[in-house]
């Protein structure tokens, strides 16, 4: 098992697929489909393999690969897997191929699109698995390139501007990350996440950073925060999100919301928290405010949207913000609140996974509607879809209710855990959160009611086919998983509980 | 006076040879040249002149350093020998340049006059008393006045000659007056004794006047501001090879003469450190001021010139400032750097005028625009001209660069910025940067700009071509191996 670099395979197989596609300019459409899906699907296969060999009770990293890379800078090529990264790798393995199928349908220049998509997938996997800043940052930044082109070239009319904004704002945050880690490197000689976490635990890191004096340690913290906050996104750095999700083509949006947004959340858990627990605790109040603000804003803004895609974009903001809410609340925990920390953290991870599933499913459904409607995707453009396309309604309905947090579906588990922890950790946040929950319910139900119920109107008035084979291939797996995980949440929680316990135990408490 | 006429004759054999050659040329032309073409007569004259120059040069090299001759009247030291050889080389090149030019109606007399001027230069290099100095200076100057006005087809030539003569006459008068004052003050005309006498005396107002007058004459000879007014007109008006001679050999000889006069004769009044009277009260300050004025004036006014020859004149004025700087530092380190600068400057100038002569032969060469498209018309001339201009600009690896470098270096070596020479050196560096602009303007015309009108190809006469290439190569060679010249001292 140890001889084979499994994690490198996970990351680079999609890139290999991209390379093969590049070297084959005249590839016929069938070949493009097969090749790209094969390499994209390799992630799920390898992820499942890893799952079978994974030992959740072990608190460290497994399948570790670590070789010195740039000696003069003290940088290693370091990949490793723990419960959280495994979860996200699995999520990527599920969402990516489905998003790819959604992207490749009925577009021009499929080869280029598939190539860029595989690049993007590889980058996302690299982010989830890299444990040294240098390779991690390579994947983090490089992911912007295929994303930019995917959005701009295959997207809607405002795609160019949206892509540009997306990249520039992310770069701004990344500049902060770069500066912060340059400072960390200067003080400690390393940028390795594992080593730095250890230094923090021993108390060394604070000392070293304090050598800079003044406000520099705080600036470093803020720099890392900025880089991650832009990606997650944390309110108020979310401005790029709604236009980008709305203008990007459906499959790309599925991947953006399903996987890429988790990159930001992952960053908070993997980097910000282990390296700066003290700062995070000290600033947990304002940060909690921002995250909750994002959740509420997301829900309320979604309520006002008539463009379905924008509505879902804001909904994503809302759902992802819950993960951050949980983290910030947990980070600010005081001694008596340990018992509440574990559910909060567990809830954040579960929510991340489940949101990935339900959001991508929902975006796909809107994509289906848009395709049927010849580009129209307004709330009021459809009506009575339930009558015209029962299967679509069934599957979409499940996704909607999962997103809403209906018990019995996967969305409920995450939200329940988060709120359970929140009530103890920060009651006011919990109360505020319920407002968001209400608003979410409202717009989702409005969606459900206007589009699917009532008499056939608008686009639905004419010919409106139900799901075809390809569309079924995308939605059915997602919905099945949603149901399954709603009924048997232990599949996920079993994976991450030991990890969460370990985290809770190592909290610096005030 | 223990006069050893035999020794004197042997020492002055080169001059005698040149006199003989001059007479020979004139006689031969009378006898043989009647009815021959202008070209033929010119070639014969130049050939003979060149032979005479070469013979003189060989004699000088064979004799080597002779030391004091004729009871200390003449000094054949290293500088003298080097300058004599240098002058002969430059004269030879000017004569060969004549072959490339438009020619003249009386070639034999022309060459004879050139040789007579050369004799004057040779004398200037060895003079060790006031009278011999004046003699050499005047012999050279008178010949040069006539040479400047030799072109009877152009009124500018006559104007140039007249201006040169008038200003030269005034400067000669001032020099003589200064000399007489010096004699009155010190009781001797010999440099060494003058120096000794000056050490014993306190500085007087009369002495200062004498020095001032002498410096004025120096300024005139080398075209240092504010005595430079003749230069633009003479460079523009005089026939090309005369201008070449004036610009090169005359400067070299003049600088050598005044070096000897000022340092060995008037050294105690220099005002430089460690030379008797300390403090900036002596002629060092005055020369520094003149050099600075030259550098600034020459280079700035050159920026706006559109006539190539006037541009060269103002650049010469700028370079004269550099020569003055070399003179200043020669008190500390000897005349090596000064000689190098003057000699290589002379080579570059002779070459530049040689190129002008060739271009003139086939058309006009007055303004910069007349040079346009030279690249096509004659790659040889264009290439050589580029070398000469770049050497004047001070671009390595040409000799002009090293000349400037060594002069500036030794100037700063004296006492950093404690000595006026240091400041002048910094100014000179700055002015070099300014100068590059107008040199590039010339090169732009030669190499970049295409001619407006279809201009014919220029055929360069063989001897002239060889002379130009040899000069260019010499500049490159001395630039890469400057020790060959510096090591002479």
């Amino acid at each position: 098992m140890n001889a084979v670099p499994w994690l490198s395979l996970v990351v680079f197989l999609p890139w290999l697929g991209a390379l093969l596609l590049w070297l084959w300019p005249k590839a016929p459409s069938g070949a493009v489909w097969t090749l790209s899906l094969a390499f994209s699907g390799s992630t799920l296969i390898l992820g499942a393999l890893a799952l079978s060999c994974f030992d959740p009770s072990q608190s460290g990293y497994q399948f570790v690969e670590r070789v010195p890379w740039i000696r003069t800078l003290g940088i290693d090529y370091h990949l490793g897997l723990d419960g959280m990264s495994l979860l996200l790798v699995l999520l990527t393995g599920i969402v990516a191929p489905l998003a790819l199928i959604a992207s490749l349908r009925r577009v021009a220049r499929t080869r280029m699109l598939a190539l860029l998509f595989l690049l993007l997938q590889g980058c996302a996997l690299g982010v989830f698995l890299a444990l040294d800043f240098f390779p991690w940052f390579i994947f983090w930044e490089l992911s912007l390139v295929p994303a930019f082109f995917l959005i701009k070239v295959w997207g809607g009319p405002g795609a160019g501007r949206a892509a540009y904004t997306f990249v520039v704002i992310t770069l701004a945050g990344s500049a902060g990350l770069l500066l912060a880690f340059a400072a960390i490197h200067g003080a400690t000689g390393t940028m390795n996440f594992v080593d730095l976490a250890r230094l923090r635990a021993e108390g060394e890191l604070t000392l070293r950073l304090a050598e800079y004096g003044g406000t520099v340690p705080t600036l470093i913290f803020l720099g890392v925060l900025a880089g991650l906050a832009v990606k997650a996104p944390l309110f108020p750095f979310h401005a790029w999100m709604p236009p980008t999700y709305a203008e990007a083509p459906t499959g790309v949006t599925m991947f953006l919301t399903g996987v890429m947004s988790k990159m930001g959340v992952y960053g908070f858990f993997r980097i910000l928290w282990p390296l700066f627990p003290g700062d995070l605790r000290d600033h947990s109040g304002p940060l909690l405010l921002l995250a909750m603000g994002g959740a509420i804003l997301g829900a309320l803004a979604a309520l006002r949207q008539t463009d379905l895609k924008r509505m879902l974009a804001y909904s994503s903001l809302n759902h992802v913000s819950y993960c951050l809410v949980a983290l910030f609340a947990a980070a600010g925990a005081v001694r008596g609140q340990i018992a509440a920390v574990e559910p909060a953290l567990a809830g954040a991870l579960v929510q991340a996974f489940n949101h990935g599933l339900s959001a991508s499913a929902l975006f796909f459904c809107v994509g289906v509607l848009e395709a049927r409607g010849g580009g129209a995707r307004g709330l009021n453009d459809f009506g009575g879809v339930r009558v015209a396309a029962p299967l679509l309604s069934l599957l979409c309905g499940v996704a909607l209710f999962s997103s809403l947090g209906l018990p019995g579906l996967n969305g409920f588990v995450g939200e329940f855990l988060v709120f359970r922890g929140l009530f103890a950790l920060s009651p006011w946040a919990a109360v505020a959160g319920t407002i968001a929950l209400l608003a979410t319910a409202l717009f989702l139900l409005t969606f459900w009611q206007r589009v699917f119920h009532g008499s056939r109107s608008g686009v639905t008035a004419g010919a409106f086919a139900d799901l075809d084979a390809g569309e079924r291939a995308v939605l059915v797996p997602l919905v099945v998983l949603m149901v399954l995980l709603g009924v048997v949440p232990g599949l996920i929680t079993g994976l991450i509980n030991p990890l969460v316990t370990h985290w809770a135990a190592s909290l610096p408490l005030s | 006076m223990n006069a050893d006429y035999g020794e004197l004759l042997r020492a002055l054999l080169p001059e005698a040879l040149l006199v003989a050659t001059a007479f020979l040329i004139v006689s031969l032309d009378l006898v043989w040249g009647r009815g021959r073409s202008r070209e033929g007569r010119l070639q014969m004259a130049v050939l003979m002149g060149a032979l005479g120059v070469i013979a003189a040069g060989v004699v000088i090299c064979q004799d080597g350093v002779l030391g004091f001759v004729w009871d200390g009247t003449l000094n054949f030291d290293r500088l003298a020998i080097s300058v004599r050889v240098g002058v002969l080389v430059l004269t030879g090149l000017s004569l060969l340049g004549t072959l490339g030019g438009r020619g003249t109606d009386q070639p034999a007399e022309y060459v004879a006059l050139v040789l007579l001027a050369t004799i004057g230069f040779l004398q200037m290099a060895v003079a060790r008393n006031l009278l011999m100095a004046f003699l050499g200076l005047e012999l050279a100057s008178l010949s040069l006045y006539v040479l400047a006005g030799y072109d009877r087809t152009r009124p500018e030539s006559a104007e140039a000659a007249l201006k040169y003569f008038l200003q030269g006459g005034v400067s000669a008068a001032m020099l003589l007056f200064g000399f007489s004052l010096l004699f009155g003050l010190t009781g001797s005309i010999e440099f060494g004794e003058i120096a000794r006498a000056l050490v014993a005396q306190p500085p007087t107002a009369l002495g200062a006047v004498a020095i001032g007058l002498i410096l004025a004459a120096f300024g005139f000879k080398v075209a240092v501001a504010p005595f430079h007014l003749w230069a633009p007109d003479v460079y523009q008006g005089a026939p090309t090879s005369s201008a070449a001679l004036i610009a090169s050999a005359s400067k070299l000889a003049g600088v050598a003469l005044f070096w000897r006069l000022l340092w060995s004769g008037l050294g105690p009044s220099s005002g430089g450190a460690g030379m008797g009277i300390s403090g900036p009260g002596g002629w060092v300050t005055m020369v520094a001021a003149m050099a600075s004025a030259s550098l600034v004036l020459g280079n700035i006014v050159a920026l706006v010139q559109s006539n190539f020859r006037r541009l060269l004149a103002y650049s010469a004025i700028g370079h004269a400032g550099g020569l003055g700087l070399g003179l200043l530092s020669a008190g500390e380190v000897g005349p090596g750097p000064m000689f190098y600068y003057a000699a290589t400057y002379g080579l570059a100038t002779v070459g530049a005028f040689g190129c002008i002569a060739v271009v003139e032969r086939n058309g006009r060469c007055e303004t910069l625009v007349d040079l346009a498209g030279l690249r096509r018309r004659s790659p040889l001339v264009a290439g050589c001209l580029a070398v000469f201009i770049l050497s004047l600009a001070g671009i390595p690896p040409l000799a002009g660069f090293f000349g400037k470098f060594v002069v500036f270096a030794v100037a700063l070596r004296i006492d950093g910025l404690g000595h006026p020479a240091g400041w002048v050196a910094l100014l000179a560096i700055g002015m070099s940067a300014v100068a590059l602009y107008y040199y590039l303007l010339v090169l732009k015309q030669v190499w970049v700009v295409e001619a407006e009108v279809e201009s014919p190809r220029i055929a360069v006469p063989t001897m002239a071509a060889w002379a130009l290439v040899a000069t260019a190569l010499a500049l490159l060679f001395f630039g890469i191996f400057p020790s060959l010249l510096l090591g002479l001292f």
Partner: protein, 500 residues
């Protein structure tokens, strides 16, 4: 190792040969020039492979030259010079490849080109300041002729401005060096002799002389506010010359600062340090902002060069070993990337579309008409932005590591500079190549026949792209040379604690 001293002279000989070959045919001249550059590259490669990094300069040739002045013909190399020599060889070959389509007076073009390259090689290999200066000035005049003779926009003005600024800068250096030689009583012009003489200067003299020498070299490096010649000159120059000028010649200035100014006058450096850092930062941000609003493609690249050189100068200004190492790496990285960018603008785009106006280019679907050029520019642009995976990233990282230790505000502004660089690169990428992406506009009939990339273009691009990616993924290849060289006591770096 022992073959390196031949490279400058070989290149000069190649210049003459190209001139001669040009009288026979244009192809002969091109082949001769390329052959010379390739031979140079081979010699460099041999030298590089045999190089064992040590902390001091390793002498290659040391013979007395002009004994009257104590000047020696002294060539030496250390990790820093070798890095830049490697860069020169890459830029030379690539530049010649991208100048393959020069039609007029080809022999002369390549003669001047090789003369310039020979001078540059000489500067990097010199250990005697006089010799360095000679090569430095040899490199000046060919620049004028290359730009004035074969350039484009306002070429005569651009050429004159560039050359006069360069010469003025070198005059400042000359003044400073001669002052040190004179007032300090040096017994020669070697680095050690001048360093020793510099210790005999008074404090105020040291400060002034450092200013002269540093700013003299910094002019050529494009330090704000002495940078104004660079955009004009680089835009006016023909493609191959721009590649060389922005890619390598600007590095001459930074190298001079590092090799001559910093080691010789440490007290002067300390006095000037705050000014230098702020000027560098100002250059990064100011040039970047100007690039953001340009409408001429080439001007964007021209200003971006000034901005990136600001990073180099910032690294030097910190006086921190890590940052200076990063600065040298950035010199290499930017040299390669700038070459690529100018190649795309000049050769790939302008020669085909005959326009550099971004508004006009935006109307053309260049990403479909010349996809090869689009691809190259995307990658080069990303590299220029400092994207990880390319050589700019480790360089900027190292610089920032050092800058943090010296001045927090410089770091913040430098970070802003990184952001602005990202913005203007994306903007120009969008406008020039992807203006019509996402639309299905059919290519306009007459421009649908844009020629695909030729073999010289592809080779040159591959060479440069390969270099930036290789060093981006394995910067140790160069850092293993550079960092030991910076251990030399000549550089007066304080021993740093915590981190390399």
């Amino acid at each position: 190792m022992s073959l390196l001293p031949w490279i400058p002279h070989l290149t000069f000989a190649g210049a003459l040969l190209s001139l001669a070959a040009g009288t026979r045919s244009a192809t002969a001249a091109r082949v001769t020039a390329l052959g010379t550059a390739l031979v140079g590259m081979v010699l460099v490669a041999i030298g590089a492979v045999n190089f064992a990094p040590t902390s001091g300069l390793q002498t290659l040739v040391d013979v007395p030259w002009i004994q009257e002045m104590g000047i020696r013909y002294h060539l030496a190399v250390d990790g820093i010079s070798l890095t830049l020599v490697v860069l020169t060889s890459l830029a030379a070959v690539a530049g010649i490849l991208f100048s393959w389509t020069v039609e007029e007076r080809v022999g002369e073009f390549f003669a001047f080109y090789l003369l310039l390259i020979g001078g540059v090689y000489g500067v990097f290999l010199s250990a005697d300041v006089f010799l360095l200066f000679v090569f430095y000035e040899i490199a000046i005049v060919p620049k004028y002729f290359l730009i004035a003779g074969w350039g484009s926009t306002r070429r005569e003005y651009g050429a004159m401005k560039l050359v006069l600024y360069s010469f003025a800068g070198s005059s400042l250096v000359l003044a400073g060096v001669l002052w040190t030689y004179g007032a300090g009583g040096a017994d020669g012009f070697s680095l050690s002799a001048l360093a020793e003489a510099a210790t005999r200067l008074s404090h105020i003299e040291t400060v002034v002389v450092f200013g002269l020498v540093f700013f003299g070299f910094a002019t050529l490096a494009g330090l704000f506010p002495l940078h104004t010649w660079a955009p004009t000159g680089h835009v006016a120059a023909p493609t191959g010359a721009s590649m060389l000028l922005a890619g390598v010649v600007m590095k001459l200035g930074a190298y001079g600062c590092l090799r001559v100014a910093l080691p010789l006058f440490p007290d002067g450096f300390t006095a000037w340090q705050p000014v230098l850092g702020w000027l560098a930062v100002a250059g990064i941000v100011y040039a970047g902002l100007i690039a953001l609003v340009q409408n001429d493609f080439k001007f964007v690249i021209g200003y971006s060069s000034v901005s990136h050189m600001g990073f180099v100068m910032l690294g030097l200004a910190t006086g921190e070993r890590a940052a200076v190492g990063g600065a040298v790496l950035q010199m290499f990285s930017h040299g390669v990337i700038a070459g690529l960018l100018f190649a795309v603008v000049g050769r790939m785009v302008y020669e085909r579309t005959h326009t550099r106006d971004l508004t006009e280019l935006q109307a053309l679907p260049l990403h479909r008409l010349i996809p090869g050029a689009a691809g190259v520019f995307v990658i080069a642009g990303l590299a220029s932005m400092g994207l990880p995976g390319f050589s700019g990233f480790p360089a900027e990282l190292k610089i920032l590591v050092g800058v943090w230790r010296v001045n927090v505000w410089w770091t913040v502004w430098a970070g802003l500079g990184v952001l602005v660089a990202g913005a203007f690169t994306l903007r120009v990428m969008q406008r020039a190549f992807f203006g019509q992406a996402g639309t299905d506009a059919a290519p306009v009939a007459e421009s649908s026949s844009l020629a695909p990339l030729s073999l010289p273009e592809k080779t040159g691009a591959a060479l440069l792209l390969g270099s930036t990616i290789l060093i981006g993924l394995k910067p140790d290849l160069l850092l293993d040379w550079i960092m030991p060289a910076l251990q030399s006591p000549a550089f007066h770096f304080a021993a740093t604690k915590g981190g390399p």
